[in-house]
Amino acid sequence: MGNQIVVPFGPQHPVLPEPIHLDLVLEDERVVEAVPTIGYVHRGLEKLVEKRDYKDYVLIAERICGICSFTHSVTYCNAIERIMGIEVPARAQFIRTIWMEYSRMHSHLLWLGLTADAMGFENLFMNAWRLREEILDDMEATTGGRVIQGSCKVGGIRRDISDDKLGEMVDHLKKIRPLLEESNRIFTHDQTVRHRMRGLGVLSKEDAWDLGAVGPTARGSGCDMDVRSSGYSAYGELGFKPVVFTHGDCLDRCLVRSEEVLAAVDLVERAVAKMPDGPIEEKVKGNPDGEYFAFSEQPRGECMHYIKANGKKNIVRHRVRTPTLTNIPPLVKMLEGIEMADVPVVVLTIDPCIGCAER
């Protein structure tokens, strides 16, 4: 039995792009307990609903996080549209879906890169980010923004994508698909990666469910849960199937994401093939009155926007439950009993997005 010592981890830490603080209680090299502290990025933007009207607030909702930005704005709009009974035109739904999948691709590639970096695999990091730039190019060409798009609005979208451009996007994806597959192969076949991550930070299926894990963290543990299966936006018409792995360790959480990148490419291709014609927005009149819980699947997992409105132009309450927040309890469980040197890798495998978690 060694003595217990407390080692602070973060907030400013080389492997963390964002600040989160963990107090690690160690016994020799093993973590006995991890106590997280957040709040370094807390802005309090939910309270801004009092100052911005519900249409302008879309832009704030988008800035909850710069990675899942587009999905946040869509979820917010979904909630408002549900309360007001607005039918969003099919073309807008399809284009929203395409952009959401592009967000997923860029987010997962970003994450794969960061994980590779945490393992000390610099080359893979650079490679993943190079591929990500290809995705961002199309994102920028169609929305005008690389990470913050500002393209979603209540009732539809701001910009249409021309059919020519849609074709080009599919061609481009076809071209980078082999590159994506190759970088995935590194995760599935490389000995060092497997050795580093197999059996590390295991989260059992029961624990994942009970502690409220969502997204790739839950799907890596064998829980088949993905809000996209419920078919919001255009997912219902694209034959969506969730990617599920069963070991519950770091490697499987990686594999879920790397597979999802390819699945996203497929979804975009199918969406383009089925793209309906028509208007891209619906006129919005009046103010919302009522409440709604809107769910969506972000790159990091299930996200919930709760809106309560009372017929004024400022809504009463906007509550965001982001995937990272519910993934923190599972993370604390995963960290128990692992070695100090593995902490960065395990923390990264839940894909923490602190900007989201603290709003």
Binding site: G39, D210, V316
Partner: protein
Amino acid sequence: MIEQKHTITEIAVTDLLKKTGECHEKGHRLVQIGCTPLGDCYEINYTFTTSWDFESLRITVNDGDKIPSISGIYWGAFIYENEIHDLFGLTVTDINVDFQGHLIETRIPSPFKNAPPVTKVKKGGDA
């Protein structure tokens, strides 16, 4: 699209632990706990689900009321309960991992505590 059903049941604070326990036995997972300040009281939603049917237990509390923690049933609930304590200034008793108000440190204590001014000040000021 599969319509997401959402049933909201209003319950008394004293029933909270019993009802939550029932949800746990049915194999529900905890989706979230969220609080809404309503001017004179607070509404707290505990959302559970198994698939696409969501179920919310709703309690209404006032400033100074004590809310029992459900973290004994759902271990992960501590994160939401500490959040409610820090942002709304409500007291949650017996949380398994109690941060004592240090989970989210804010410049002004309990910023969401009072009701949003719009509901009071801007009466009729609807544009």
